[in-house]
C-alpha cells in the first residue's frame, strides 16, 4: 500500500515547502495549508477504511526488514490515525483565525507535529519510532515557546529538560534491545524476545514505561504538562492533549503488548502496577485540578487524569479493558478538543485565562458556553455523553479483572472532576461584567468546536458504531502472533 507512506510524507513535505511558498508567493500559503490537511484527511480515511478490513504492512524502499523502514496499520493504528488527521484538520481551520503572530513557524511546526505523531502511530520499527518521538517532542517544545513570553519560554525549557531525560531513557531501552537481539523491527524482536534473560526484559520494560510515561504524563512524571499549557496557543493545546500524549501512550502500549505479550506481562506483575498507577494518577490529578485558577492548567490536569483512566483500561490486559481504553482515547480527544476550542474562543475575544475572567461569558458568546458545558459534562462522565460509555466499559473491565477498588475509584474521580468543572460553570453563567457586550464569533473558531461538541453527544447516543470498529482493535494487541504475521507471513 503506497498510500500509507503518504500519510507521513505529506505533512512533512508540506512543512518544508511552506517556507519556500511563503518566501515566493505568500498568498498561496493558506490554500496550501488547508488543501494539504484536507488531502491528508481524505487519504487517512481511505487507508483506514482498508486497514479496518485487514492490517496493512509496508516496507519502505524494499530494504531488509531488520534495518529498513517498516510501516504498519492495523485497526488500532487506523483509529489513532483517523483521530490525528481529523483533529489536526479542525485545529488548522481554527488556527486560520486564531494565530496572528509567527504564522509561518506555527504552521511548519504544526505539520511537523502531525508528521511525528502519525509516524509514531504507523511505524513498525524502533529506530523510526525514536526518530518520530523526537520530531514530535521538538515540535511540541517549540510550539509551547512560540509566543516568546517569559512564561512560555520557561514552560518550554522545563518541557525540554524533562523531555530530554525521557528521550534518554527510551533510547537506552532501544539500545538494549538492539544490542541483545540485533534487530529493530518490532515483529522480529517479538519473535525472539523470549530468549532474553529476565533482567534485560525487566530493564527494557522499566525504561520504556518511564520514558514514554513522562511524555504522556503519568504522575509523578507529569510535571512538564501543567507548566507548558497556559501560554501556548489553544489549537496547540488541543493537538498536545488530544494527539501528542495519546500517540505516546499508543506507542508504549504497542511495544509493551507486542513484545511481552499478555502472559509475560501477567507474570511480571505489570497488571496491578499499571492499574494502581493509573488510579493514583487520576486521583491526584483531579485533586490538583480542583484548586487551579488558570483554566488551561485545570484542563491540563484533567487530561492527566483521563490518561489515568486510559492506563487503567490498558492495565487490565483484557479485551474489554482495551476496548474501553481505546474508546476513551477517542472520546477524550473529542471532548478535550471541544473544551480547548471553546476556551480558545473565550481567550480570543475576552482574553480570559483565569476562571474568574470567564464571568458571564456564557451569555456573551452563548454557543461557546454551551460547547464548554457539553465538553465538561462529557468529560465528567455523565450520560448521555460519550465519556460515560467509555468510563462504564473501563469500570466493567476492571471489575471483571478483579480490581474492585480501582473500579470504584473511577466514579469517585468523576465526582471530584464534577466539583471543579462546576466552578467554571458558575462563573460562565454569572452576570457579565459591566460594559462587556455580546460578540459574534468567527466561523473558523466556532465550526470546529461545534463539530467536536456534536460528536460528544453523537458518540454517547450511538456508541455501537464506533465500538464496532474499536472491538477489532485489541486483536493484534492481545495476540502478538497476529502482529508478527502481518510482516513475516503467518
Amino acid at each position: 500500500m503506497d498510500l500509507l507512506v503518504l500519510l507521513i510524507v505529506l505533512p512533512l513535505f508540506t512543512a518544508f515547502s511552506l517556507g519556500v511558498i511563503s518566501y515566493f508567493c505568500e498568498r498561496f500559503m493558506l490554500p496550501v495549508i488547508i488543501g494539504s490537511s484536507l488531502l491528508h484527511l481524505v487519504l487517512t480515511i481511505i487507508v483506514a477504511a482498508q486497514a479496518f478490513v485487514e492490517p496493512i504492512g509496508y516496507n519502505l524502499g524494499g530494504w531488509d526488514s531488520s534495518i529498513g523502514i517498516v510501516l504498519i496499520m492495523d485497526s488500532f493504528a487506523a483509529i489513532m490515525a483517523s483521530i490525528i488527521s481529523i483533529l489536526s484538520f479542525l485545529a488548522i481551520i481554527y488556527s486560520i483565525k486564531y494565530i496572528k503572530e509567527n504564522i509561518l513557524k506555527y504552521y511548519i511546526l504544526s505539520f511537523l507535529l502531525v508528521t511525528g505523531t502519525m509516524g509514531m502511530v504507523l511505524t513498525g520499527d524502533l529506530f523510526n519510532l525514536y526518530v518520530f518521538f523526537e520530531v514530535t517532542s521538538i515540535a511540541s517544545y517549540s510550539l509551547v515557546a512560540i509566543k516568546k513570553e517569559d512564561e512560555s519560554i520557561e514552560g518550554a525549557f522545563r518541557y525540554l529538560m524533562i523531555g530530554s531525560f525521557s528521550g534518554l531513557f527510551l533510547l537506552l531501552g532501544i539500545i538494549t534491545i538492539y544490542l541483545s537481539l540485533g534487530t529493530l523491527n518490532l515483529a522480529q524482536i517479538a519473535l525472539s524476545f523470549g530468549e532474553l534473560d529476565q533482567f534485560t526484559i525487566i530493564s527494557i520494560l522499566v525504561l520504556m514505561i518511564v520514558g514514554f510515561g513522562t511524555k504522556f504524563a503519568l504522575i509523578p512524571l507529569h510535571t512538564w504538562l501543567p507548566d507548558s499549557y497556559p501560554k501556548a496557543p489553544a489549537p496547540f493545546n488541543l493537538l498536545s492533549s488530544a494527539l501528542v500524549i495519546k500517540s505516546f501512550l499508543y506507542a508504549l502500549m504497542r511495544i509493551v503488548y507486542t513484545l511481552y505479550g499478555v502472559d509475560l506481562l501477567r507474570d511480571i506483575g505489570l497488571e496491578a502496577i499499571l492499574i494502581y498507577w493509573g488510579v493514583f494518577t487520576f486521583l491526584i490529578a483531579h485533586t490538583m485540578a480542583y484548586q487551579q485558577d488558570n483554566i488551561k492548567r485545570l484542563l491540563g490536569y484533567s487530561s492527566i487524569a483521563q490518561i489515568g483512566y486510559i492506563v487503567v483500561g490498558f492495565g487490565v490486559l483484557s479485551h474489554k479493558g482495551i476496548v474501553g481504553a481505546i474508546y476513551h482515547i477517542i472520546n477524550h480527544s473529542i471532548m478535550k478538543g471541544a473544551l480547548f476550542l471553546a476556551l480558545g474562543i473565550f481567550i480570543y475575544y475576552f482574553n480570559a485565562h483565569k476562571i474568574k475572567d470567564l464571568k458571564g461569558l456564557g451569555f456573551l458568546v452563548p454557543r461557546a458556553g454551551v460547547i464548554f458545558v457539553i465538553g465538561s459534562l462529557a468529560i465528567v462522565g455523565l450520560p448521555p455523553f460519550n465519556g460515560f460509555i467509555s468510563k462504564w466499559l473501563i469500570i466493567e473491565g476492571a471489575i471483571e479483572g478483579g480490581y474492585l477498588l480501582a473500579a470504584f475509584m473511577i466514579p469517585v474521580g468523576s465526582l471530584i472532576s464534577l466539583t471543579y468543572y462546576l466552578k467554571v460553570f458558575i462563573m460562565l453563567y454569572s452576570n457579565p461584567k459591566e460594559g462587556w457586550a455580546k460578540k459574534r464569533v468567527a466561523w473558523q473558531l466556532e465550526i470546529p468546536a461545534l463539530i467536536l461538541a456534536f460528536f460528544c453527544i453523537l458518540l454517547g447516543l450511538f456508541p455501537q458504531y464506533p465500538l464496532y470498529l474499536v472491538e477489532r482493535a485489541p486483536a493484534l494487541l492481545l495476540d502478538s502472533q497476529n502482529y508478527i504475521s502481518v510482516f513475516l507471513g503467518g
Partner: protein
C-alpha cells in the same frame, strides 16, 4: 412509546420556537403526554440492545402508571401555571426535567434508569442555577455535587448488581445494597441527606420551585419502591417525618417551610413502602400521588403570593385572604389536604399507611408528625392569610392561568378525597379494603388537627413568626475543606523546581525497577 419521550422530543422543538406560540405548544405537548399515559397498556415494549445490554424503554405496571398519571397531570398544571411567564431556557430545561422523570418511571432496566436519573439531575441543576439570583450559584453547586454522590453510588450499586447477577433488569436489588440506599436516600431527601433540598427550593424563582417540588424527591420514592425491600427503612421514615416537621415549624420563609414538609411527607411514604404490606405500599404510593398534588398546590399558592407581593416571609405577610380570596381558598384546601382532613386526599393515604402496619412506634410516630404538620400549616394560613395586617402591598393581580392551574389541582384533590375507590383500582388490596368514611376513621384523622388547634391557641406567641438567626449545622461543606487542604498540600510539593522534577523521574525509575524485580 414511552410518554416521557414526548417531553424530551418536545424540548428540542420548543427550543426553536418563540413567544406565545411556544407557551401554547408546550401546553399542547403536555396534554398529549397526559393522554398517552392514560391510554398506556400494561406490559413491556420497546426493547433493543445497547452495548451488551437489553434495554427496556417501556415497562408499565399499575404503580408506575398511577405515578406517571399524576406526574403528567401535574406537569400540565405547572405549565399552565407558568403560562407566558417563561423564557426559552426555562421551557427547554423543564421539559427535559419532566421528560426524564416521566421516562424513568416506565423503564425496565438499570442502565436506562441510571441515564434518566442523571439527566434529571443535570437538567434540574441548570434549572436551579439562575444568574438573576446569585446565591443559586452556590446552592446549585451543592445540589449537583450531592446528587452526583448519589449517582456515583447508584452507578456502583448497579455495576455490582449487574456483575453479580448478570442481569440488567430493574428489580429489587440483591447486591450493593448500601450504595442503593445512599443513592435513593439522597434523591428522596432522607433526613441527614436532605440538606440540598430547602436551600435550593427556597431560593429559585417561584415558577421553578413549582416544577421542582413535584419530581426529584418523588422519583427517589419510586426508586425506593422499585429497588429496596428492606423493612428497617420504615423506622428511618418515621424519624424523617418527625424531624422534618420539627425543622419546618421553625421556619418563617414559606418555601423553606414547605421544603422541610417535603422531607417530612417523604417520611410518610418511606414508612408506607418500607413496611411492605399491600396496604402500606398502596398507602405510600398514594401518598406520593397526593403529595405531588397538595405540595405542588401549596408551592403554586405561595408562588402566586410572591408574584403578587414580591414577599415570601411570614414576618412580612398577613391579611391576604381579603385581597386574594381565590388563592386563599386553594391554600386552605391544600393545607387541609396535607393535614389529612377527611374528604380530602391526604386523609385517604395517611389512613392506608397507618392501616398497613401494626407497629406502635410507626403509628405513634406518624401521629406526632401529623400534629406537627397541622400546626405548621395553621401557622402558614393564619399568619400569611388570615391575621390582620393591613400594610401588605399588592403589586400585580394574579394571572388567570395561575388560578386555573390551582383550580385543576384542587379539583383532582377533592375527587380523590371523596372517591378513593378510583385510586384504589391501581392496587391489589385483596379483601383488606378500608372504609375511609366510617366515623372512627374520621375521628382518628381529626384528632391531630384538633390537638394542633389547641396547641396553636396555647402557644400562639411562640409560634408567631419572628426573625430568627440561621444556624448552620451543615456538615458536608467540610468535606470540601478537606479537598482544598489536600490540593494545597500537593501543589506545595509540586513547586516548579526543575531539579526536583528530574529527581522524581529518576526516583520513579528506580522504585519501579525495584518493585518489578522483586
Amino acid at each position: 412509546m414511552n410518554p416521557g419521550m414526548i417531553y424530551l422530543l418536545g424540548a428540542g422543538i420548543l427550543y426553536f420556537i418563540k413567544g406565545r406560540l411556544r407557551d401554547l405548544l408546550s401546553i399542547l405537548i403536555s396534554l398529549i403526554a397526559l393522554v398517552m399515559v392514560w391510554t398506556l397498556p400494561l406490559g413491556e415494549g420497546l426493547t433493543f440492545s445497547f452495548l451488551d445490554f437489553e434495554i427496556i424503554l417501556l415497562s408499565v405496571n399499575d404503580v408506575s402508571r398511577l405515578i406517571g398519571l399524576v406526574f403528567a397531570f401535574f406537569a400540565l398544571a405547572a405549565i399552565v401555571y407558568s403560562f407566558l411567564l417563561t423564557d426559552k431556557r426555562y421551557s427547554f430545561l423543564t421539559y427535559i426535567y419532566i421528560g426524564s422523570s416521566l421516562t424513568l418511571l416506565f423503564v425496565g432496566d438499570f442502565f436506562s434508569f441510571y441515564i434518566f436519573w442523571e439527566l434529571m439531575t443535570i437538567s434540574s441543576y441548570f434549572l436551579i442555577f439562575d444568574k438573576t439570583k446569585p446565591i443559586t450559584g452556590q446552592t446549585s453547586y451543592y445540589y449537583f455535587t450531592m446528587h452526583m454522590v448519589g449517582a456515583v453510588s447508584l452507578l456502583w450499586g448497579i455495576l455490582l448488581q449487574y456483575v453479580n447477577t448478570g442481569s440488567i433488569l430493574l428489580t429489587t436489588v440483591e447486591y450493593g445494597l448500601p450504595f442503593f440506599i445512599l443513592a435513593v436516600g439522597i434523591k428522596l431527601a432522607f433526613i441527614g441527606l436532605h440538606t440540598w433540598l430547602p436551600q435550593n427550593y427556597a431560593n429559585v424563582s417561584f415558577i421553578t420551585s413549582v416544577a421542582l417540588s413535584a419530581y426529584t424527591t418523588k422519583v427517589g420514592v419510586y426508586g425506593m419502591y422499585r429497588l429496596l425491600g428492606e423493612e428497617f427503612l420504615a423506622y428511618g421514615g418515621v424519624i424523617t417525618a418527625i424531624i422534618g416537621v420539627l425543622f419546618a415549624l421553625k421556619q418563617t420563609e414559606v418555601r423553606k417551610l414547605l421544603s422541610y414538609h417535603i422531607v417530612s411527607q417523604i417520611g410518610y411514604m418511606i414508612v408506607g413502602i418500607g413496611v411492605r404490606s399491600s396496604l402500606g405500599v398502596a398507602g405510600g404510593i398514594l401518598h406520593l400521588v397526593n403529595n405531588v398534588l397538595y405540595k405542588g398546590l401549596l408551592f403554586m399558592v405561595i408562588g402566586t403570593v410572591i408574584y403578587v407581593t414580591d414577599k415570601e416571609d411570614l414576618v412580612d405577610l398577613g391579611g391576604l385572604a381579603k385581597k386574594l380570596p381565590l388563592t386563599s381558598l386553594y391554600g386552605v384546601i391544600a393545607s387541609l389536604g396535607i393535614a389529612g382532613f377527611p374528604f380530602l386526599n391526604g386523609h385517604i393515604s395517611k389512613l392506608l399507611i397507618k392501616s398497613g402496619t401494626s407497629d406502635p412506634i410507626l403509628i405513634w410516630g406518624l401521629f406526632i408528625a401529623g400534629i406537627g404538620t397541622s400546626l405548621s400549616f395553621m401557622k402558614v394560613m393564619y399568619f400569611g392569610f388570615f391575621r390582620d395586617k393591613g400594610n401588605v402591598e399588592i403589586k400585580r393581580k394574579p394571572k388567570r392561568s395561575m388560578l386555573i392551574a390551582m383550580g385543576m389541582v384542587s379539583f383532582v384533590m377533592i375527587i380523590i378525597g371523596i372517591m378513593p375507590q378510583l385510586a384504589e383500582g391501581f392496587f391489589d388490596l385483596g379483601a383488606k379494603s378500608v372504609s375511609y368514611f366510617s366515623l372512627s376513621y374520621i375521628w382518628a384523622s381529626l384528632q391531630p388537627i384538633l390537638l394542633a388547634l389547641i396547641i396553636f391557641k396555647l402557644a400562639h406567641d411562640i409560634i408567631e413568626p419572628h426573625p430568627h438567626p440561621e444556624v448552620d449545622r451543615d456538615f458536608y461543606p467540610r468535606v470540601k475543606g478537606g479537598l482544598d487542604y489536600l490540593a494545597n498540600l500537593f501543589s506545595q510539593v509540586q513547586n516548579g523546581d526543575l531539579s526536583r522534577y528530574i529527581l522524581w523521574m529518576v526516583a520513579t525509575l528506580v522504585i519501579f525497577w525495584i518493585k518489578i524485580s522483586i
